[in-house]
């Protein structure tokens, strides 16, 4: 009978990788938090109340309040939705572009390949943080803009990966056989070659997701990420730029710090685990 996913070698390797399991569980937890944010933290994350400015954690405010009296717990929970959303949205766009361009470039070669390769080199040769800051100042700050910018800049890594994979896979004989059976090029590319490259794509997606979450946090901390009123992990940290806050109100920077570290670590662990699981030599 068919091998189910639970009996496969990959799953067995993954089962031995304790850190990766920890990562997977944590990531699932974060995703659940993001989905059910309204149930977990019913308070409006944007409701200001200047009389509650910088309240310490209490039974009314689990994690205290910020400078303008917004409930910090609520902002943190809703921030999960924004931060993961930016990461997943960016990854989605980058993956689609990367696979499409990489496939065309690697399989067809020729002029398309040269054009796309030069385009990717053009993007790579700028320091990405400077490029992102520049584009943000031009197109303006918004959640959607940030997702689009991440998507349109981060596809380069996947593009190069897919391109090289396609270049080696297209020399395999089954591709020749498909051509001999008159199958369309597009169908050969994305229906037959692509599934053979699914393992490295998955690994790239997880590892880059962590990078995007970090980049969002870094940009928002600088005040150039998502608009300030939108709760996101980076925007929460932004409130802790002040030395006075750092010294006196630790609940402003410790929870988002822990959450960002935990999220990025767990995604990286998951990526490492997947890489080992898909690596036939492990």
């Amino acid at each position: 009978m068919n091998i189910t996913i639970f009996q496969s070698r990959q799953f067995r390797v993954f089962k031995k990788h304790k850190l990766a399991q920890f990562g997977a569980i944590t990531l699932v937890f974060f995703i659940l938090v993001a989905v059910f944010a309204d149930l977990i933290a019913p308070k409006d994350p944007n409701k200001m109340n200047l009389r509650h400015s910088y309240k310490a954690p209490s039974s009314e405010f689990f994690l205290g309040t910020d400078r303008i009296g917004r409930d910090y717990f609520s902002r943190l929970v809703h921030g999960t939705r924004v931060s993961l959303g930016v990461g997943l949205g960016g990854i989605g766009i980058a993956t689609i572009i990367g696979i499409l361009f990489g496939g065309l470039s690697g399989y067809l070669g020729g002029r398309i390949d040269i054009f796309l390769l030069k385009l990717s080199e053009l993007i790579i040769c700028f320091p990405s943080i400077v490029l992102i800051l520049m584009i943000v100042t031009i197109v303006g700050q918004s959640l959607l803009n940030l997702i689009l910018i991440f998507g349109f800049l981060e596809w380069v890594g996947l593009y190069r990966l897919i391109r090289s994979l396609f270049m080696s896979l297209k020399e395999q004989e089954f591709v020749e056989a498909l051509e001999a059976f008159g199958v369309r090029k597009f169908s050969i590319m994305f229906q037959h070659i692509l599934p053979n490259a699914i393992a490295p794509i998955t690994v790239w997606m997880t590892l880059t997701l962590a990078g995007m979450i970090l980049a969002e946090a870094g940009l928002s901390f600088l005040g150039m990420g998502v608009p300030l009123q939108v709760p996101s992990w980076g925007n929460l940290l932004n409130g802790a730029k002040d030395l006075r806050v750092l010294e006196n109100y630790p609940w402003i920077w410790i929870p988002p710090g822990i959450v960002i570290t935990l999220a990025v670590l767990s995604i990286n662990f998951l990526g490492d685990g997947l890489r080992d699981a898909f690596n036939p030599k492990s």
Binding site: N2, E173, F174, E176, A177, A180, F181, G182, P195, N196
Partner: protein, 343 residues
């Protein structure tokens, strides 16, 4: 007018290859991999192309489907394919990426490859890969073709086809994979099958089964087969007509009986001497053909086989003409040019 002549000429033929020239552009210069090859494939017959590695037999076969590397070109010659109903397709005039060409590939002419291990996609089931060809050429939906897939697998002698069709290539044995490959190439009812060394990667007992199967299917469906091989045993078992190639040229072509009983060209004679024969005892010595094939970039002038030939004479520095030694038995050798003249 010309077309009518062609239709008339091709009444009993499925494919006519006329003076085919396929050249490769390489860094070392132009390589004439196939240089003026002509032969006909009759309906319901098996034509074997025999020769050493690198003699151009695979290139000849692949140029029929225009499945050549990008640096290879059909420079000259004709490939006329009989579609039936007085329709002739001139394959050499089609663009290699055109829709017409794709419709021929797998639909009218299909190919069975050497190594079934690598010619199947590892990530799809056998059944799905057969469906791929059915979808492309017969435009069936998957639901409607399941029964046909099972029927095809059963017809190539795979037991338990319902279960096998759901398995992946790595779950089948080599013989079964080659059977499924044959099933795949049969799935759109082609008129001609090109078998590119179909049994080289299989062990001997499976070889015999696969050859029997191909012969049986060929007879049942009235198809034609072009069989590419360097195994004279396979040729003897399968072929009706044999084409012997050497360095991109045909040196001898004749019916299978003629080639084995009355070989004429020195190369064919040597080729037959170099295989072991049953009943000659344990100590029989095989005679290898002395020398090696010349490099394509520095070919000898005249007859290409002359440096390795026992009968070579001063005439052999000119290119020999193809002569009809006896009925439908063609040889390109100076030795027989003389004989014919003397008579």
């Amino acid at each position: 007018m010309l077309l009518i002549q062609k239709v008339d000429f091709m009444r009993n033929l499925i494919l006519q290859i006329k003076d085919l020239k396929v050249y490769f552009d390489t860094d070392e210069g132009l390589i004439k991999a196939v240089d003026g090859v002509s032969f006909n494939v009759e309906k319901n017959s098996v034509v074997a192309i025999v020769g050493e590695s690198g003699c151009g037999k695979s290139v000849t076969a692949r140029s029929i489907l225009q499945l050549l590397p990008t640096n290879a070109h059909i420079v000259d010659g004709e490939l006329n394919f009989n579609l039936g109903d007085n329709k002739i397709i001139e394959i050499h005039k089609l663009d290699r990426n055109s829709r017409e060409m794709r419709a021929i590939r797998g639909g009218e002419i299909s190919i069975v490859f050497q190594d079934p291990m690598t010619f199947l996609n590892p990530v799809y089931t056998i059944g799905y890969q057969i469906y791929e060809n059915i979808k492309e050429h017969l435009h069936y939906k998957y639901r409607n073709s399941i029964a046909k897939i099972h029927e095809i697998l059963a017809s190539v002698g795979i037991s338990n086809p319902i279960q096998r069709s759901q398995q992946f290539p790595h779950e089948l044995s080599g013989g079964m994979r080659q059977r499924s490959m044959i099933g795949m190439s049969l799935s759109a009812n082609p008129k001609l099958i090109i078998a590119d060394e179909p049994t080289t990667a299989l062990d001997v007992t499976i070889q015999a089964q696969v050859l029997d199967l191909m012969k049986k299917i060929q007879n049942e469906k009235g198809m034609s087969v072009i069989l590419i091989t360097h195994d004279m045993g396979v040729v003897a078992e399968m072929a009706d007509f044999v084409v012997v190639m050497y360095m991109g040229k045909i040196v001898e072509k004749a019916s299978c009986q003629m080639i084995f009983n009355n070989p004429k060209h020195p190369y064919t004679i040597k080729l037959l001497e170099s295989i072991p024969k049953l009943g000659r005892g344990r100590n029989q010595k095989l005679k290898p053909i002395s020398g090696t094939t010349p490099n394509f970039t520095s070919l000898p002038t005249g007859c290409l086989f002359s440096p390795r030939c026992d009968f070579a004479s001063s005439k052999c520095s000119n290119i020999p003409k193809e002569i009809e030694y006896s009925d439908n038995h063609f040889v390109s050798c100076w030795k027989y040019n003389e004989e014919i003249k003397e008579n």
